[in-house]
Symmetry: C2
Subunit: 131 residues, 2 copies
């Protein structure tokens, strides 16, 4: 099987990942996403692997992992198999924060629903608790 090696421009990569071209360059500058391949004229060329990595990083970012940590994670990935244990530890730590966030969101959801119910009650002439 001969897989065609796609090589997206920064514009196309931006579309595929939901980031802006500015952000893609910024990520590269701070040491995330290194190294991105270049065309003969110096333009960036994003491989499918790059896109996959960026999509994964987006998930970490969306769930509150600081760029500094993501940076560390990517560095471990680049250092190869010997860092597998450390990466696994990072994932397990992040798993815990995600679980915690879900619990917080669940609690907030209950509060919101309780308050919405209060507003519904008010429409039936009851008194409202403050805020």
């Amino acid at each position: 099987m001969d897989t065609i090696q796609v090589a997206l421009t920064i514009q196309e990569a931006a579309e595929k990942t939901g980031l802006t071209v500015h952000t893609l360059r910024y990520y590269e500058r701070i040491g995330l996403l290194m190294p991105i391949g270049r065309a003969a004229n110096g333009h960036r060329r994003y491989s499918q692997q790059d896109i996959n990595l960026i999509r994964t990083l987006n998930r970490w970012r969306q769930t509150g992992m600081p760029l500094a940590d993501i940076q560390h994670y990517v560095k471990l990935v680049q250092e190869g198999d010997s860092t597998a244990g450390q990466r696994r530890a990072m994932l397990e730590a992040h798993r815990q924060t995600v679980v915690q966030q879900m619990e917080d969101l669940q609690a907030t959801l209950e509060l919101i629903d309780y308050k919405i119910q209060n507003y519904t009650d008010i429409e039936q002439k009851q008194e409202m608790v403050y805020a």
Copy 2:
């Protein structure tokens, strides 16, 4: 029943709400949390109602509601019953973003677990997908 009217200092309010005294003053300056009562000497005195409001706001904030929106919400609270509909609409909108966040977290959790499983497999001599 005679409820004792507690009036906490800013220090005590900070302890009860998990914010710093700096943040409490900052929130007041930007028009959140107004008006906070004052002692004869000009020092802030936080009522139980203030503490309750701050705790509620903390939940909104922890779930990604921008301070500007929280500000708007508090303003509506202060304007009284006539704004109940608008407040309800805000809560319902925020409910949606919270639900969305939970879905994102769930998806990320699955990704994390999948990757952790990969690391477990690696320990049994399998190949790892990139990142």
